[in-house]
């Protein structure tokens, strides 16, 4: 049996591994700028979609054609690209291909923030106070101002079809509200082909906690515990940990049960994530359900020992989950950092186009790497900057942080600047070490941006040796 992976980079490799472990064959697809990518070598087959960039990974027709050509019977969309596009799921079904993910209807309902909120409200899931889609024109603006009068600023203005941190803006005043609604609509129309927007009360400095869900076609829904993704910059996650560090097990249990209820209310199928915000007073609010495998699924796999992608494939082929909620045991802690080719000091400017002249990874007990780059690889400028995800697992939190620190020190990537030294600073930072952080962490800890690029003593001396070697006329012997 062949399964096509409609994605690139590290997640393509993650999925190919699961396919191969199940005894199937994996078919990779790629665009021309990705022809050096490692996911192509690891797959059993690879098909060039076109010159891209990005547009071919998003081209439903080309991908279905590639699946047909390679005689694949199923498609795994990964995350991003077409993963949460209901039309893609629908096109797969129409072409007689198994789509590894939720049904078209689920994707469609949960992808629309307003419908999703409606479903959840009916199921009694606690939610941040918010509106339905604002009416067009002046009516919508007065609706918004009335909401603001009731709940007070700040308020989030969100694009109904947005996601992944896009299409969100924070509003601080009536004047700004009036000004920003038309702007947000125009932007949403351009980005998501849907100009509907809605409002949500802002929860100040919340923790971002999410619950991993697996639901099979027999109606069994289980959760795999919590993750904390609070450490973000501008709504992009940088570090994810599992389980949540909130020292209130009763609350966490309740959140997990609520997540299962939410999934059931949505008739959820396959793997998904129910996201919550938790405020200072430990109130929790439903945010959204992500209908895909997430970047940070690795931390959950580490603490549960359950292979989420393998289960995704099995569920898609109609198999029942082989375990029950009681079988899910959380053991220890896991931390994932996204090692990106970015310069944190320069506003996380991507370092695309650079060659990875040295790539030396880490290893050892409790360490997992999900990456796709190698020494000599030139990072394409046209895709995201994720190089490798480092996930560490430990029996205690202290052990896990110590392992993270050690692994980051062991890593050596030369060529592009990376987020490694930035994470090293976080791994040393007191509040992080104490497990005390919320979504304001990056902005309230500016000193984590102070570091030298190469601090290892031997690295400095090796540079001196290289200079003495290169100079021929050794300046120190002059």
């Amino acid at each position: 049996m062949k399964i096509l992976v409609a994605n690139r980079g590290e997640i393509a490799i993650r999925i190919i591994r699961a396919i191969q472990e199940l005894g199937h064959e994996a078919v990779a697809v790629y665009e021309t700028p990705d022809e050096m990518s490692r996911h192509i070598r690891i797959a059993d087959e690879a098909i060039l979609l076109g010159d891209g960039p990005r547009c071919d990974y998003l081209n439903i027709e080309k991908i279905i054609r590639a699946a047909k050509r390679s005689e694949a019977c199923a498609i795994h969309p990964g995350y991003g690209f077409l993963a949460e596009n209901p039309f893609f799921a629908k096109a797969c079904a129409a072409a007689g291909l198994v789509f590894i993910g939720p049904t078209t209807e689920v994707i469609s309902n949960l992808g629309n923030k307003v419908i999703a909120r409606k479903i959840m409200a009916e199921a009694g899931i606690p939610m941040v106070p918010g509106t339905t889609n604002l009416k067009q024109g002046k009516e919508g603006i007065s609706e918004a101002l009335a909401f603001a009068a009731q709940y007070g600023y700040p308020i989030m203005l969100k694009a109904t079809s947005g996601g992944g941190g896009r299409g969100i803006r924070r509003i601080e005043s009536d004047a700004q509200m009036k000004e920003q609604i038309p702007v947000a609509r125009a932007e949403a129309l351009a980005a998501f082909n849907d100009d509907s927007v809605y409002l949500e009360k802002v929860v100040i400095n919340p923790k971002h906690v999410e619950v991993q869900i697996l639901a099979d076609s027999q109606g069994k829904t289980v959760h795999l515990g919590t993750r904390d993704c609070s450490i973000q910059r501008r709504n992009q996650k940088l570090i994810e940990i599992a389980p949540s560090m909130i020292k209130n097990q009763k609350l966490l249990d309740e959140i997990c049960e609520t997540a299962v209820r939410a999934a059931k209310a949505a008739n959820y199928l396959n793997a998904g994530t129910v996201e919550f915000l938790i405020d200072k007073d430990q109130n929790y609010y439903f945010m959204e359900i992500n209908t895909r495998v997430q970047v940070e699924h690795t931390v959950t796999e580490m603490i549960t020992g359950i292979d989420i992608v393998r289960n995704q494939i099995n569920i898609a082929f109609g198999k029942p989950l082989s375990f029950s909620q009681e079988d899910v045991q959380i053991r220890g802690h896991a931390i994932e950092v996204r090692i990106n080719a970015e310069d944190p000091k320069n506003d996380f400017m991507p370092e695309g186009g650079k060659k990875v002249s040295v790539y030396r990874s880490t290893g050892g007990f409790g360490v997992r790497l999900d990456g796709f780059v190698y020494q000599g690889y030139i990072i394409p400028e046209v895709y995201d900057s994720l190089l490798v995800k480092l996930t560490v697992h430990g029996f205690t939190w202290d052990e896990t942080v110590g392992r993270l620190k050690r692994c980051l020190q062991n890593f050596a990537i030369r060529g592009p600047k990376t987020t490694i030294p930035f994470y090293e600073n976080i791994a040393r930072e007191k509040d992080f070490v104490n497990g005390d952080f919320d979504t304001s962490y990056i902005e309230t800890h500016p000193h984590i941006f102070y570091y030298d690029e190469d601090t290892s003593e031997v690295g400095k001396l090796a540079r001196l040796i290289a200079e003495i070697h290169y100079a021929k006329e050794n300046p120190y012997a002059a």
């Binding site: 002249s357 040295v358 290289a466």
Partner: protein
């Protein structure tokens, strides 16, 4: 057998010396390094020797001071304070000794009082014995150092700089000793500083005897150089006449201009019934066995001319300046003129300038003047700034007699009497604003400097700041052995280098290929601790840096200067550009100051006009004829 350990109070040290029969030995490793290896012996080698040197039971290890502070930072890339700390870790017992140039500290010209005191206080934390001298034996130049050393509870070792000639009588030196003792008191060791290795054994014996007769309770430390090959003879006579401490070095590294081998001294004196107190000969031998293999890496720093120089009795150059003088002669292409310079002109200049002591910075003045006199053809025709200062009495009074009037006229000009009257006398140097200096260093290195960093910066501002930047970029390079640090011509492909880092961890570096990229960059591949690393270099520019030019001769340079094209008159470094663009200047105005052979010389304008272009900047090294600036003649 009474060994004196580090930490012993000064008074107890001196008491022990007074009571003990026999003599002690100082291992003058720093002076050996300076005299025979251009000061390049690395901390790496001294650390190899540390354990057995500590075991050997020396009175002290002379390991810092002189030119070493400067060279540590400039060439060896080691923090002079860190050097002392690392050595102390491995040498808990032995006292550390420095050589301090009094008011000139560890530099080449006088420092303000507050800088002197601050510097001595910081170094006295690590240095137990302070050998302090002044090249004119002008005692007030050493006051501040004596005081601070005393306050720190460390041992003062004031020097009588020694030389030969009709004026250099026992009576003079005994009186000078009295002058010193009046200031320091008697809990000192008094050094006879024979930096040239001058005089016969008998002469040294008589001097020691004269001093001991007058001051029987003041222990004498005889310091000599083996330039003529006869310092063992002088040491024997010194000890026979009552010297308590003498200087030697490890035989594996002894050369020609430094101190003689410790072991030879010990073996010889045994015959006369004198025992080296506290000394373990086995450990002395062991030290040389341990470091012998390292000497090959220092060969490139040995003197251009091999062999003893008995003619030192004529030219009197100090051992510490022999190597660098010969190097300058070789580089300047006037090695063939050396007999004339050393044996005719130098003794003549010495006599003309008052027969003072040829030691830093006075030795440089004598040497530079003699070289200029011979090479330029016109005696005293191109006087250095420092010679001018000497005649003005800035360093102190001439000890015996003043130079003849014609020399004053040549150096200071025809109105020399007025100049002398107006500008003459010991320079009163205003205290520096240390807070401001600290701030200025912080600006340069980007962090708040430590007190020790500030001290180093006050000694040698440019070189210290450069060194701190080096340290930041390359870490503790002193961990590299000389086989790596001094390698010339690059390494072999596949060569394996190993060293221990600052924390003691062993590292391996394998040399890989160095291909040229199509971008014109060269890459050096190294396997560092089993992992490949790549270092990219911009290929060297064919053009030299600004200021570089074809070497011009003296006439050409003068012709250009008269046309307003100011060139470097000799091979040296720009210390200061004294003018700015657009500035109007007159004939004879100073436009820049250059430094060569440790001497500063002003560059004067040959014409009247306006500065229209400046090509060189502070710190640039220029060859003769290197462009400095342009002056447009006033029409």
């Amino acid at each position: 057998m009474t060994r004196i350990n580090q930490g012993t109070p000064a008074h107890t040290i001196v008491e022990t010396l007074r009571k003990t029969k026999g003599y002690y030995i100082t291992n003058t490793a720093r002076d050996l390094s300076q005299s025979d290896f251009k000061n390049r012996i690395l901390l790496h080698t001294d650390l190899m020797a540390a354990e057995s040197r500590d075991k050997a039971g020396y009175f002290s290890l002379e390991i810092t001071g002189g030119a070493s502070i400067h060279v540590d930072m400039l060439r060896k890339q080691v923090d002079p304070f860190l050097k002392l700390k690392k050595l102390r870790e491995h040498m808990p017992k032995t006292m550390f000794q420095t050589l301090c140039r009094g008011v000139n500290l560890f530099g080449y010209r006088p420092y303000p009082q507050n800088v002197i005191r601050f510097t001595v206080r910081e170094f006295a934390k690590y240095v137990d014995v302070w050998r302090t001298f002044d090249f004119l034996n002008h005692v007030p130049n050493m006051h501040a150092v004596f005081e601070e050393v005393g306050k720190a509870g460390k041992l003062n070792e004031p020097c009588l700089c020694f030389s030969t000639g009709p004026e250099h009588t026992n009576a003079y030196y005994v009186a000078k000793a009295g002058e010193l003792i009046d200031v320091t008191g008697r809990d000192i060791t008094l050094c006879i500083k024979n930096h040239g290795g001058l005089g016969t054994p008998t002469r040294i014996g008589e001097l020691v005897d004269a001093l001991k007769q007058k001051y029987p309770d003041v222990p004498i430390h005889y310091h000599g150089h083996n330039t003529d090959g006869n310092d063992v003879g002088r040491i024997v006579e010194a000890v026979k006449n009552g010297a308590s401490i003498v200087d030697g070095a490890d035989f594996a590294f002894t050369g020609f201009y430094g101190p003689p081998p410790v072991l030879t001294v010990v073996q010889t004196l045994k015959e006369f019934g004198f025992e080296a107190v506290g000394l373990e000969e086995d450990a002395v031998i062991e030290t040389s066995e341990v470091i012998r293999d390292q000497r090959q890496y220092y060969e490139q720093f040995e003197s251009q001319i091999k062999g003893f120089q008995p003619t030192v009795q004529i030219h009197k150059l100090p051992g510490g300046a022999m190597g660098s003088s010969l190097e300058q002669a070789a580089k300047g292409g006037f090695l063939d003129r050396m007999p004339e310079i050393l044996h005719k002109e130098l003794p003549r200049v010495q006599k003309e300038l008052g027969n003072y002591w040829s030691v830093t910075p006075g030795s440089q003045i004598l040497w530079t003047t003699a070289v200029a006199n011979v090479l330029d053809g016109e005696r005293y025709g191109n006087p250095s700034g420092d010679l001018r200062n000497l005649l003005l009495g800035k360093y102190g009074p001439f000890p015996f007699y003043e130079p003849e009037e014609w020399i004053y006229a040549k150096v200071l000009g025809d109105d020399w009497r007025t100049v002398l009257k107006e500008e003459g006398g010991v320079e009163k140097i205003a205290d520096m604003d240390l807070a401001h200096e600290r701030y200025s260093l912080a600006e340069q290195i980007g962090t708040e400097p430590t007190d020790e960093q500030l001290v180093l910066y006050l000694q040698h501002p440019n070189d210290a700041a450069e060194f701190f930047k080096f340290e930041h970029n390359y870490g503790q390079a002193h961990v590299l052995p000389p086989s790596i640090f001094f390698r010339r011509g690059g390494f072999e492909i596949g060569e394996n280098l190993s060293f221990r880092d600052y924390h003691g961890k062993e590292h391996m570096v394998e040399i890989g290929p160095s291909p040229m990229n199509d971008t014109g960059e060269a890459s050096v591949y190294l396997i560092v601790d089993h992992h490949q690393s790549i270092y990219n270099f911009k290929t060297k520019k064919a053009e030299g840096p600004a200021g570089a030019a074809q070497e011009l001769n003296k006439e050409e340079i003068l012709d250009l200067a008269k046309a307003g094209d100011v060139r470097s008159p000799f091979s040296g470094k720009i210390v200061e550009i004294s003018v700015v663009e657009g500035q109007e200047i007159l004939v004879g105005d100073r436009v820049a100051i250059m430094e060569a052979m440790k001497m500063q010389t002003p560059v004067l304008s040959e014409i009247e006009g306006i500065v229209t272009g400046i090509y060189a900047k502070k710190g640039d090294a220029l060859k003769p004829g290197g462009k400095i600036l342009k002056i447009d003649r006033n029409e």
